[in-house]
């Protein structure tokens, strides 16, 4: 007993320093070497991936534009009670005109206009027109401005527009995230988007739902193939493996376009069905430019990502398990269901995660074969990045997508356990 209590202190190395410390010292060199080896990749990833992504994510809440373009106005508006229903006083108009004159000379007022237009449709033209009219005004000589500005543009006599500016004058905004889930920040608080603009939640739902279907069909198609791959003699399975990997050597675009050829109304499948008389000529199947098209093409494209993890797990299931089960009297089916299948679940899990995560963010294939009904949330993100230039919304959508993936990953870890997932 006394011995044990004496030993309770930290273990000492031969020279009297604590063992932990001297171990850490001896490991430090090794760690440094390892760090040096990965340094190039680390830097590359940092500059080309992590920083851009971080800045992208930052954009989803960043809203400095109002304060930067209208600094005086924002300060002046602070004392205005937007709930009073009255127009702001002369000080606000004065500040606004001064800000606008600067903004117009720097050509920044249209950008602000389009930013606020996301929140209040129509406000962008108000800014554009105002800009044209007050370009020549003199901030000292032409005061006071309240009447004058309202005369020039009726919009500035509308309390609503001022409330929009005040609501969105803060540097950090939840506005993009709200927009991403079909809500918006109005001066009266959070409200639903107008009916006709509510598409994003539906799109998220569709993306998740279709990704699930794609993952499911990948499981169904990949399981027997992987089983064959893992059990056939080496020579045959190598050949089969090449067939599985063949699509990887073809461009994604080519493969997707090939599906267009297959699936269109004048395409191979329809022609064959009509020729066989299974489908009437005037009732050709619509299997492209809709959800079916996306599901078919993406299942095909993502199939190898399901087969490979499944195969590598199944390959490690020794034949002796199934043989043992049969020797104990289990039929082929019982052996499969009770012995083989449970052990292949880690492969299904790994493949499903991989396919689902790839599917949920897929862009090219839905774009080409999805029409309007079969597109994913990523197509919307691409639209906001390259066409509508609403990067904030695109960033918010991207962030939500990332969060959903992480959440699913976390759930999966809780339910199946990520340790059970084997990729090879």
């Amino acid at each position: 007993m006394t011995d044990a209590s004496q030993n309770a202190g930290p273990m000492l190395a031969a020279d009297g320093t604590p063992l932990k410390q001297s171990l850490a010292r001896s490991l430090r060199r090794q760690k440094l070497r390892a760090l040096l080896l990965i340094a190039p990749l680390l830097l590359f990833v940092l500059f080309s991936f992590i920083i851009p992504i971080a800045s992208m994510l930052f954009r989803s809440v960043e809203n400095g534009i109002v304060e930067k373009t209208l600094p005086l106005t924002v300060v002046a508006l602070e004392t205005w009670d937007e709930k009073s229903g009255e127009l702001p006083d002369e000080a606000v108009y004065d500040a606004f005109v001064r800000d606008m004159i600067v903004a117009v000379s720097e050509k920044k007022h249209t950008r602000l206009g389009s930013r606020l237009n996301y929140e209040e449709p129509g406000i962008s033209s108000l800014f554009r027109k105002t800009g044209r009219k007050i370009r020549k005004w003199d901030p000292e000589a032409d005061a006071p401005f309240k009447e004058k500005l309202i005369d020039a543009e009726k919009g500035w006599g509308d309390v609503e527009n001022w409330r929009v500016i005040k609501t969105h004058s803060r540097n950090v905004t939840p506005g993009y995230f709200l927009a991403a889930v079909d809500l918006r920040l109005t001066p009266d608080g959070v409200a639903a988007q107008p009916e006709e603009k509510q598409i994003l939640v539906k799109l998220f739902g569709r993306t998740l739902f279709m990704s699930l279907i794609i993952t499911g069909s990948c499981i169904l198609l990949a399981y027997p193939v992987s089983y064959l791959l893992a059990t056939l003699p080496m020579r045959v399975s190598n050949l089969l493996m090449i067939l599985v990997l063949l699509p990887f050597w073809t461009s994604l675009l080519v493969r997707t376009s090939a599906w267009k050829v297959m699936l269109q109304q004048q395409g191979v499948i329809n022609e064959t069905l009509v020729w066989l008389g299974l489908v009437a000529d005037d009732a050709r199947l619509v299997i492209i430019n809709n959800q079916i098209g996306t599901i078919v093409a993406m299942t095909h494209i993502l199939l190898p990502f399901m087969i490979l993890p499944m195969y590598s797990v199944m390959q490690t299931i020794p034949q002796s398990y199934t043989r043992a089960a049969k020797s104990m009297g289990a039929t082929n089916w019982t052996t499969f269901w009770r012995i083989y299948f449970p052990q292949s679940i880690p492969g299904i899990g790994a493949g499903s995660i991989l396919v689902f995560i790839l599917a949920i963010g897929y862009y090219i294939t839905p774009e080409i074969v999805g029409g309007t009904k079969g597109v994913f949330i990523s197509n919307r993100i691409a639209y906001h990045i390259s066409s509508s230039l609403n990067w904030g919304l695109a960033a918010a959508l991207g962030t939500i997508l990332l969060a959903v993936v992480m959440l699913l990953y976390w759930c999966y870890d809780k339910i199946v356990g990520i340790d059970n997932v084997k990729l090879g």
Partner: protein, 363 residues
């Protein structure tokens, strides 16, 4: 049926995997109920293949396998009712020990109470009663081995096949398990076919041993006969330690013969596989049957001159390496008894043996 008592019978069985090479060539074997038979042989000699044909996982290319008088070539494995123990134990990793044991009973649609009762009895039988709720991965190698054994026995098969079940265990545990397995097999009256390439295991456990080589049974005999009366030079060399000298038969006289070795010296031997003078032969003699005390030999026995090359102390026995008739690896052993003679390297001795201990086999 050739033999009414046979429980398992291989009749002229051949097996080829690729259509080019016969892995099993003309196998004939029959074992009665309750026998413990071991298949012993070097790697690749076809032991596992035979076992798999019996279990139904490989089909015989030619010939008939009978179980209890019925041909089983067309019975699927799960209807053969044969218990198996695999080299890697093949315990299902996703089931607990108790679930593993209960699996064969479940597929037989046995009721829950009866299952639990049998599982408990089987676990107690291998002294693993307290481990039912563990996973196989939480057991040591020896414990897993016992569970595998219990699982093969729990559904009370009449025939149990074991393919090198002790291969992965250390020596002490092996010896203990050898004892356990034979005890259980005899207590339960099970017919056992056991595969190993460890000859000690084969000799200590079996009723009979079938020595395999090159897809054939070289000899099928009880352990003592196998050791003392090998029928050919492969068996003589494969089982136990053995000295071989090569020569030509000079004369045969009933139960003994004289062999002229390649260096011209002559020795006494017992003709086993030789029938005529002038045949080439390999004579085989066990190290412990070599005598260098002339008083213990017949007066007219032939002796050979030998030079001691090396002395190896092994505790219970002394082992000497000698140079005899051109063979530098001639081993003799003596017991470490109070009157034991110690030879020293470089010493010249005369050695001899009783004619019946030296077997003239095929060349």
């Amino acid at each position: 049926m050739s033999n009414d008592a046979a429980f398992v019978e291989f009749q002229r069985v051949q097996k080829s995997y690729d259509g080019e090479v016969l892995v099993v060539k003309d196998l004939n074997l029959s074992l009665p109920k309750g026998e413990f038979l071991t298949m012993l042989g070097p790697s690749g000699s076809g032991k596992t293949t035979c076992l798999m044909m019996l279990a139904g996982f490989e089909t015989a290319t030619h010939g008939e396998i009978m179980l209890d008088g019925r041909p089983i070539n067309n019975i699927p494995p799960h209807k053969r009712g044969i218990g198996m123990v695999f080299q890697n134990y093949a315990l299902f990793p996703h089931m607990t020990v108790a679930e593993n044991l209960s699996f064969p009973l479940e597929v037989r649609k046995m009721g829950k109470d009866q299952r639990e009762e049998k599982v408990k009895r089987a676990l107690d039988m291998v002294q693993m009663g307290a481990f039912g709720s563990r996973r196989p991965a939480q057991l040591s190698g020896g414990q897993q081995q016992r569970i595998a054994l219990a699982r093969a026995l729990v559904f009370e098969p009449e025939l149990v096949l074991m393919d090198e079940p002790l291969g992965a265990l250390d020596k002490q545990l092996r010896e203990h398990m050898q004892f356990e397995i034979t005890r259980l097999a005899h207590e339960l009256g099970i017919t056992t076919v056991y595969v190993t390439h460890d000859q000690t295991e084969a000799l200590t456990m079996s009723d009979r041993v079938a020595v395999f080589d090159d897809g054939r049974i070289q000899q099928l005999a009880p352990p003592d006969l196998l050791y003392e009366e090998p029928e050919n030079s492969f068996v003589a060399q494969f089982i136990g330690e053995n000295n071989t000298l090569e020569g030509v038969v000079k004369s045969i006289d009933g139960d003994s013969c004289v062999v002229t070795l390649d260096d011209g010296s002559e020795i006494d031997a017992k003709p086993v596989n030789v029938h005529n003078a002038g045949e080439r032969t390999k004579v085989s003699i066990r190290p412990e049957r070599v005598e260098f005390n002339k008083d213990r030999l017949h007066a007219d026995a032939h002796t050979l001159k030998a030079t001691v090359k090396e002395f190896i102390y092994m505790g219970d026995v002394f082992r000497f390496r000698l140079s005899v008739a051109g063979n530098d690896d001639f081993i003799i052993k003596t017991r470490n008894a109070p009157d034991a003679v110690k030879l020293h390297p470089g010493q010249e001795v005369e050695i001899g043996w009783l004619a019946q201990d030296c077997r003239a086999l095929d060349a």
